[in-house]
Each structure stands twice: as C-alpha cells, then as structure tokens.
Amino acid sequence: MSAPLVDIRNVSHRFGQLPVLKNVSLAIEPGSYTILLGPSGSGKTTLLSILGGFVTPSEGKVFIRGADCTAVPPAKRPTTTVFQDYALFPHMSVGGNVGFGLRMQGVDGAARAAKAREALALVGLAAAFDKKPHQLSGGQRQRVALARALVVEPAVLLLDEPLGALDLKLRRQMQDELKAIQKRVGTAFIHVTHDQEEAMALADHCVVMNDGRIEDEGPPERVYARPATRFSATFMGESTILAGTVTEAGNGTVTVSTAVGPISLPGAPPAGAPVALAIRPEHLVLGEVKSDVALGTAKVGDVVFQGSFKRVLATSMQDPALQFIAKAPASATVQAGDTIPVSCNAQDIILLAD
C-alpha cells in the first residue's frame, strides 16, 4: 500500500479561456470510498471526467496503478463510469447491457451470461436479466448501470452524481446499498455529489471542492468537526461565522476581538491576523449562560420544527449582520421574536484563517 491507487498530480484544466481546475493534486487509496463534494461549477465533474479519460487535462498527470494514464482513452484504462443518466443501451436486454464490457474483452457467451447474472444478483436484480431497460424503474436502471460498470472488475469505479435523479427516499436507500456493495467488492469508488448528507454517509475520504480547487480533504468526521477553510465549514454542514481580528496571541491561546466582544480560544495565528470563527449549530447554546464563551444576545427570527430538533435562526443584537444558526432540542420553548442570550464552549469553536 505504499503507492496510491490513483495519483492525480498538479492537474489544471481550462475550457477555452475558463479555468475549471486549478492545480489539483489528490491521492486515492485502494478499497476506499472517496466523495468529491462541491457546488456546481466547482470542477468536481471535470475531475471525474479526467479520471475516466473523457477529458484530457490541460496540465498535470494522472497515474492509475502507477501507470501514466493522462492521455489514455476510456476504452483502455482500468476505470468504468456510472453515468448520471445511467446511459444504458436501450436496444439491448439488461443482460446484454451488463455483459457488454465482457463482450468487448472477448469473453464467450456462456461465461459472459454467468458473470452478468452474478453482477445482477450483487445489485439485487437477478430477475431482470431478460428485461429491456425501459421496463425498469429509475432505481433499477441505476443498479443495472452499477452492475454493468462493476462486472469488468475495474481498478476504480467512477460515479457521476449517481443518485441525483432519484427521489429522496430511494436516494437514502440506494446510498446504504452503494456503501454495502462497495465494502463487498472492495473496489475503490470515486463518487461525485453536491449533497453533503450523501457525502457524510458514504465517504471514507471526503474531498471538498470549490472554484476548481480542493478546499479540504480527509475523513468526513474530521472535515465536519475541524473544517480547514471557511468554505468547507459552510458547505459541509452549516455554521455560524463570526469575523474577527486576533488581538493577543501566546501560549497556544489567542484572543479574538469580534462584534460580540473578545473571545479567547486555543489557536496559533499571530496578533493582527484576520480570522473567522465557525460554530456548528449543535454547539450553540440558547438561553441562560452555562457555557464558557458568551456571544451576546440575539433576536429569534425563525424556528423550524424538524422532528428530532428545532432549527433556530436568530440575529445578533450587537451586530445585525451576524446570523446565528442553532439547533435546539425539540422540547425547547424558544419562539420567534424572543430575545435570548447565546453562548458556546471555547473548544467547539473552529478557528479559520480569513
């Protein structure tokens, strides 16, 4: 496991004059489930197309299993893609679709059918072998596309927003199945999505992209708890962002002056540095101050009941530009129009360079 399975080195890409990827480097480990997460236009789909061989990057190199694959056409590289629109062959049966890759490798009919049936059984569609794609539902077509891509045993499976066309309930269900199938086959999956819940549920390794760059990458727990940048703090889950300036620094502790007063917390930036403090909704405490950092008072704008909790939006009385996003227990009595104190614990504050 010394060399990574996929090694993307300093890849940049432009469509005409428009730069879509700016010096991206990324390593993918064997057997991992990697999520490329980002808003539309962040370059995540272009990066996937470069991995699949559909786009040759303007600069940089892509190594797969140690071999330079930068300009190798899709047919000749050890990757397969599950397309967003599934791209099943409409004139072939489901079995014909799944067996297509093996047919291209020259596998004979009987062995092909056996392997195709096996792959269909893996995705829970053993009975659909003789059906035509148009006879299947969206979720079933998705599974056929997955079986078709997996049956040729690629080194890396690429998934382009595979759950985007499904309704919410089916999406959550397919999400669990994807993870289970990935664990069973052990193939590295690289999955593009803009859905951060999907990312947190599936990823071993989460790559947050914005504007052609990788903002943050790591295990989703780490990316959520300690995001590296302001973008990743707001895109991967919600955060309240407090802008401020470091006034005192030393002994691993800094004091930051903000619109709601000075806040002391662990950190290393030098005095005078502009910083942003991010606080996750579940770490904000509403009501009587019991935690160590007071964040002033706020006027509650909106309370949305979400079943297991209430989502509270409140505007700071000290700085009207500051919006608190908090998660209150379902039993909380807070109401729109209330003015309440807000606080949090220093260790829960995420210190970001601004």
Binding site: G52, P74, A75, T81, A87, F100, M104, H134, R148, V152
Partner: protein, 260 residues
C-alpha cells in the same frame, strides 16, 4: 343554412380528393381494361395487360435495373448520410452550420440541373452513360435527405450512451456498429425507404445519365412515345404500388414511437 354549409363542405372535400386521386384511379382502372385502348367504356377487369408487362423482357429488365439502382444508391446514401450526420453531431467542426447548410443544399436544386451538371461532369471525366452514373446521381439527391433525417434524430442524449460503450472497452467502429446504428435504426430505415421511393420513380436524372440499360421510368417514357395503351397503365400501376409500399415502410419506421 347549416345543412347547406355541410353540403358545400362535402362537395369541396370530394372535389379536392378527386382532383388529387382521380388520375391515379383512372390509371389503375384502365390498366385492368380487357380491350386495347385505355378509354371508356371500361371493359374489364382483366389482368391481360399485366401479363403483357411481365412477359416483356425490356420492361422486366428495366424493373430489375430500377430496383438495383434504388437499393444500392439508397444504401450508399444512407451510409454516407449517417456518417456525415454522426460527424456533425459528435465533433466540433469549423464552420459547422455552413457545412451543414451546404450538405442539404441539393434538396433545393432541381433534378434537371443536377442531372445536367452530372452529365457534363461525367462527359468530361470520361464516365460513360450507365446505370452506375444514374445511381451516383441518385446518391447526390438522396444523401442530403438521409443526412437531414438522421441528423435531426441524433440528440445529445445518445452521447453518454456512446461514452458508456467506449468506457467499457469498445473500439470506435464497434461503438458505431453496436451502439449508434441500432439506437438510430428508426431514422436510418426511414432515410433508406424514403431514398428508395425517390430513386424508384426518378426520371430526369436516369433519362440523362443512362443509355442502353435503363430504369423503369425511362422505359415507360419510351413506351409512351408510341402512344397510350393499357400496358402503359399496367406498368404505371406497378410503379405506383411499389412506391406506396415504400412510403408505408417509411411512415412505419419513422413514426413508430418507442416506449421511453
């Protein structure tokens, strides 16, 4: 008043359809004449003139020639039309819109002009008048048609299907033969049958570009020079029947909607 309007509408409809179809009805009716002149009174029905047509070696060989030219020129038209449509749909070409306009331009040029142009060109290039020359002429008129039909049906949604095939290891020619052609089959068949229809009863180009062996419409014209008789009606009816069959095939293949 209302009844009068309805009556007028019916009369109008019958007049219009009569105007369109009466010549064909008369042609077919008098091809069944039992006596020697295709004029009233109707003396049939009799198949004697059809028998005369089918035992006339010149007419039957012209019929075979026509079929041969129609099938081969349509195959060439549909193949070339498909490849150019695929090229325009899948690759970014400089001046794509102008080139597409140019390729469909022969649709607006009269057959007479195309026939004369080919006659001059073949004369200059030393290509003798022949069925091959007429077939090439039919490709000139039918290729733009096949291109237009196939190009109009070649949408972006097939791009990912082709990509998927490539991704699974298919070489480019396999992608074309195993994926694009079957997916485009309705448009390809429609182009083929429409080309067949146009080639089958095309007269001017065949007349200008053939000499000894010729196609059925030219042979009918030769026959007409010696005056009308029920035999010309019979062979005309045969041509018409084949055209109808081809048009029906065209409609069936193009208009058949596949379940999504």
């Amino acid at each position: 008043m209302r009844a009068a309007v309805r009556f007028a509408a019916w009369v109008y409809a019958i007049a219009v359809y009569g105007f369109i179809f009466l010549p064909v009805v008369v042609l077919v009716l008098f091809s069944l004449q039992a006596t020697s002149f295709p004029i009233p009174p109707f003396t049939g029905p009799s198949l004697r003139w059809y028998q005369a047509v089918l035992s006339d070696a010149r007419l039957t060989s012209a019929l075979v020639n026509s079929l041969l030219v129609a099938v081969l020129s349509s195959l060439a038209s549909v193949t070339l039309g498909f490849l150019s449509a695929w090229g325009f749909a899948r690759f970014v070409l400089p001046g794509s819109a102008i080139l597409r306009g140019l390729i469909t331009l022969p649709l607006t040029v009269s057959y007479l002009i195309i026939g004369m142009g080919l006659l001059v060109l073949f004369n200059w290039a030393g290509v003798p008048k022949s069925l091959l020359a007429a077939g090439i002429g039919h490709v000139v008129i039918n290729l733009p048609l096949c291109f237009a039909i196939i190009y109009s049906q070649m949408g972006d949604h097939q791009i990912n299907i082709e990509r998927a095939a490539r991704d699974l290891g298919a070489a480019e020619w396999k992608v074309l033969l195993m994926i694009t052609v079957p997916v485009m089959a309705p448009a390809i068949f429609a182009g083929f049958f429409l080309s067949m229809t146009f080639s089958w009863d095309e007269f001017v180009i065949s007349f200008l570009l053939t000499r000894f062996e010729t196609t059925l419409p030219v042979e009918i014209w030769n026959l007409l020079r010696s005056g009308l008789n029920p035999k010309t009606n019979a062979v005309g009816s045969l041509v018409f029947a084949v055209s109808i069959v081809l048009v029906v095939f065209f409609e069936l293949t193009l208009l058949r909607r596949k379940p999504a």
